[in-house]
Structure formats: structure tokens, C-alpha cells
């Protein structure tokens, strides 16, 4: 049993990890065919992951409703919303319109999901303004630099800002292209090197937390 639970997954990880790391550098048709097959599998696994995710969400909220935990009413709304959408989706074969006529599924999408998501995102503008007023203070030298840069970029990204202070557009562009790019690139390189190191640790079985049960 230990072989099935521990050694076999480690062996699969080692073999596939090394194989696909090497695959990138081998343009042979057999190697390309292997990648095609593997990505097809990945797409199928991706489809099943969706089912797994929905099942897990259903289970989590069913527990909340059964125990009547705080906010269980929201879980009920989620249940009704999801089941209702799945039902109309199956009924209309997943089509939002048939020959130019909107289906029930299309109605749910256009008149519920689209405005709800749009509203959630739009509300951000109000909260950002309130949060900026309450917390964007030059409490230190670093905070002051951040504040000045933010003001310049905000001015330079809108026509009125460029109209009032013509230089703001060019300065904002310089901040984004030079300062921002170089710092982001440094972070990206650091993160990428970390990802390579972690991949090696996983491939060679040093990092095993993905197997569950912590380190042995």
C-alpha cells in the first residue's frame, strides 16, 4: 500500500517531470506527438476538474445549510442560482439563443450574470476612492514617493490630466516603461527562479506536500 500511496506517485512525477522538461528541447515528431496527446489529456482532466469543483462547492454549502451556520441564507441563494442555471442550461442545450431568439439560459446570462458581475466590478471604483482618502497618506518617505508616482500616473492616463499638466503624459509613460518595467522584471525573474527550484524539488521528491499528510 505504501508503494501505491507514496512511491508510485513520486515515480510518476519524476518520470513525467523529466520527460516533459526535456520535451521542450526536442523537436522530433514523436516528441511533438507526445505533447499533443498529453495536452489532450490535460483538457479532459480540466473538464473533470470543473465537475469536481462544482461538486465540492455544492457539498460545502449543503453542510452550511444543514447546520444553519451564519450566512446560510447566502448558501441557499447559491444553491437555487446554480441548480436553476444548470437546469435551464441543460433544457436549452447550453445555447443562449436559437435562430436569433434568446433562450432561458441566455436570459439568465444576459439579465442576471452580466449586470451582477458588472455591478460588483463597478462598485470597486467607489471603495477605491474611499480607501484612498482614508489610507493613502505620506506617513514615510517611501509612502510619499509612492503617492507622488500614483498622482502623476493617474494624471497622465486621462485626457484632462494631460490637458492641465501636458508633461504628465510623458512622465507617466516613463514611470510605466522604465521604473515599473525594471522592478516588475526583477520580481518576475525572482519568482521564475523560485518556480524552477520548486519544480526540481517536486520532480526529485524533496517536496512531497502535494501527496497530502505533510513531510515524511
Amino acid at each position: 500500500m505504501i508503494f501505491l500511496r507514496r512511491q508510485l506517485p513520486l515515480l510518476i512525477t519524476l518520470v513525467t517531470g523529466l520527460l516533459f522538461a526535456a520535451q521542450y528541447y526536442v523537436p522530433h515528431p514523436a516528441s511533438e506527438q507526445m505533447l499533443t496527446s498529453a495536452t489532450k489529456w490535460l483538457q479532459i482532466v480540466g473538464g473533470f476538474a470543473l465537475i469536481l469543483g462544482v461538486t465540492s462547492l455544492f457539498h460545502q454549502h449543503a453542510v452550511k445549510i444543514r447546520r444553519q451556520e451564519a450566512g446560510w441564507g447566502y448558501s441557499l441563494v447559491l444553491y437555487v442560482g446554480m441548480l436553476g442555471t444548470i437546469a435551464v442550461g441543460l433544457w436549452t442545450n447550453g445555447k443562449e439563443s436559437v435562430e436569433g431568439t434568446m433562450t432561458a439560459f441566455g436570459w439568465v446570462y444576459n439579465y442576471m450574470m452580466v449586470p451582477l458581475q458588472g455591478t460588483m466590478f463597478a462598485i470597486l471604483a467607489f471603495f477605491i476612492a474611499s480607501a484612498a482618502y482614508r489610507s493613502f497618506r505620506a506617513k514615510s518617505r517611501e509612502a510619499a514617493v509612492l503617492l507622488v508616482a500614483a498622482v502623476i500616473v493617474m494624471m497622465g492616463r486621462v485626457p484632462l490630466g494631460e490637458y492641465l499638466i501636458p508633461l504628465s503624459g510623458d512622465v507617466s509613460s516613463w514611470i510605466l516603461n522604465v521604473l515599473n518595467s525594471s522592478v516588475r522584471r526583477a520580481i518576475l525573474i525572482g519568482v521564475s527562479l523560485g518556480a524552477v527550484a520548486l519544480s526540481f524539488k517536486i520532480i526529485f521528491g524533496v517536496e512531497r506536500s502535494y501527496l497530502g499528510g505533510g513531510k515524511e
Binding site: V45, G46, L50, M113, Y133, R137, P159, R185
Partner: protein
């Protein structure tokens, strides 16, 4: 409680009202200030301009309705430009929640430009797997999308004649609101399959994509509503993005004013307390 203290603890509903008015009034009474074209946006425009007729233009609509205000106008402007240039337009999405919106968007612009489905454009829909879809398309497009959104076999679509994988695409633009998006299209797509790539994203994501832009990994970037407005100006067909720029100008200036005020009150309070 001093005046500064009272002002720092101002009711947030006043701020909400101020932002609401700054958004609403310019939409009702537009000013129409001139919009300067940036080199990032021009990069995408110039590349589409340079493509010969019937080249394949792949547009991945990688966003959902939450990002519609910023990315929808970008998609409309790009599609209008591509259709005007008589390119073969192939569209798809990596975001399942954006599928219906993407279908409506493509159908609407194609209808407006008098284009025929299957011959001039196609919508492949969504396929599960995120970045795996990109790799799969790089290997074999018909394996990633055996059928289009309406269920027709992709192999029978004349718009895809001569296209076997991403290597046969003339230009590709990903309009992304997150992951998978522009970065994934570079890492898993362009880097291996060597096609020309451009990007579009929400305003808040744009600074994160500048390293890709500066290194030439993407040849242009349309950032947020401003980017969409610039593109609308370039194609000479003003739309919702240009209309929204006055509102964005007013809200940006309102936030700057709020930040300056808050700092003035903060320093005044600090001085009072010694």
C-alpha cells in the same frame, strides 16, 4: 474633535456621492478632450494595418462580464479594424463565463461590417484546460477545437483554410482580465509556436504587462478604457471608450483631490498634536 479630525473621518457616503457625480455628469455632458495616442496602442494598430488581406487574425476574448466596461470596447474596435482590413477573423475564449458575451460581441460586429460566418469569421467558443488549450492549439488547432461554438466541424470552416496550428496565425491578440490571459498566451503560445502577439487588458493589469512589452515579447498593449479610446481614435470610429474618457478624467481628478485633501488634514492634525 478638531476640523482636521472631523474631515479625516468624513462619512464615506459623501465620497461615494462625489464619485457618482463625477462619473454621471461627464456622461450626460461630454467635453470631448483630445486623446493622445501611445506607442503601446499604436503597436497593435500598425501590425494589423501591415497584414495582407485574408491573413488569419486570432482574437482570444479572455474576460467575463465583470471587465466588460473596459475590454468590450477594445474588442469592438479591434474587430472593426480587422474586418475593415478583410482579415480572416478567428475568435475564441479561455474564460467559460465570457463565452455568451464573446459570441454576442463577435456576431454583433460581424453583422455591422457585413461579414459572413464561416467564410470571413468564426467563433470557436470555449474549451477546458486554460493553458493546455493554448499548447494544444499550438500542436493541432482541430484537436483543441474539433467543433466551433455552434457545433459545426472546424475542419469544414473555409475561414480556417490552410490553418493547422498557431504557427499559421498571422497575428494574435489576447484581451485578458486575468489568468489565463496575455501572459499565458506568451509563455505557452508565442514562445514555442512563434506567432506575433499583441495584448489588451484592464487598466489595473497594464503595469504588470509592461516588462513583456519592453522586451518585445508582445508587440503592443491596449491598456484599459484609455487604450480602447486610443484605438477607437486610430480607426476613426468613436464609441463607448471615447465617451467614457471624460468620466474617467473626472473620477481620476476627484481621487487625486481626495488624496491631497486627506494628506493636508493628516499633516495639519500631526502639527496640532506636536
Amino acid at each position: 474633535m478638531s476640523f482636521s479630525e472631523r474631515m479625516l473621518k468624513i462619512d464615506r457616503r459623501i465620497i461615494f456621492l462625489m464619485i457618482g457625480l463625477c462619473t454621471l455628469l461627464p456622461l450626460l455632458y461630454p467635453v470631448g478632450l483630445p486623446i493622445k495616442i501611445s506607442s503601446e496602442v499604436r503597436g497593435v494598430y500598425d501590425h494589423i494595418e501591415s497584414l495582407p488581406e485574408r491573413s488569419v487574425f486570432l482574437l482570444s476574448i479572455d474576460f467575463d462580464p465583470a471587465s466588460k466596461p473596459e475590454l468590450y470596447p477594445q474588442a469592438i474596435a479591434l474587430l472593426r479594424h480587422a474586418f475593415r482590413k478583410h482579415l480572416r477573423v478567428v475568435t475564441m475564449t479561455l474564460w467559460v463565463s465570457g463565452t455568451g458575451m464573446a459570441d454576442q460581441l463577435v456576431t454583433q460586429v460581424a453583422k455591422e461590417m457585413g461579414k459572413e460566418y464561416g467564410t470571413d469569421y468564426a467563433f470557436l467558443g470555449w474549451s477546458p484546460g486554460g493553458q493546455a488549450v493554448i499548447i494544444n492549439m499550438g500542436q493541432d488547432l482541430y484537436s483543441a477545437f474539433p467543433s466551433d461554438y455552434s457545433g459545426k466541424s472546424t475542419k469544414d470552416l473555409p475561414v480556417l483554410d490552410g490553418v493547422r496550428s498557431l504557427k499559421d496565425v498571422g497575428y494574435m491578440v489576447s484581451l485578458g482580465a486575468g489568468r489565463p490571459g496575455v501572459e499565458e498566451w506568451y509563455v505557452f503560445g508565442k514562445d514555442k509556436y512563434k506567432f506575433e502577439l499583441g495584448g489588451g487588458c484592464t487598466g489595473v493589469m497594464a503595469p504588470g504587462l509592461y516588462p513583456l512589452l519592453r522586451s518585445g515579447q508582445i508587440n503592443g498593449l491596449i491598456g484599459g478604457l484609455r487604450g480602447a479610446a486610443e484605438y477607437e481614435n486610430l480607426i476613426g470610429q468613436k464609441g463607448k471608450a471615447v465617451a467614457g474618457m471624460d468620466a474617467q478624467s473626472a473620477t481620476h481628478l476627484a481621487i487625486i483631490a481626495l488624496v491631497i485633501m486627506c494628506n493636508l488634514f493628516y499633516f495639519s492634525l500631526r502639527q496640532q498634536r506636536g
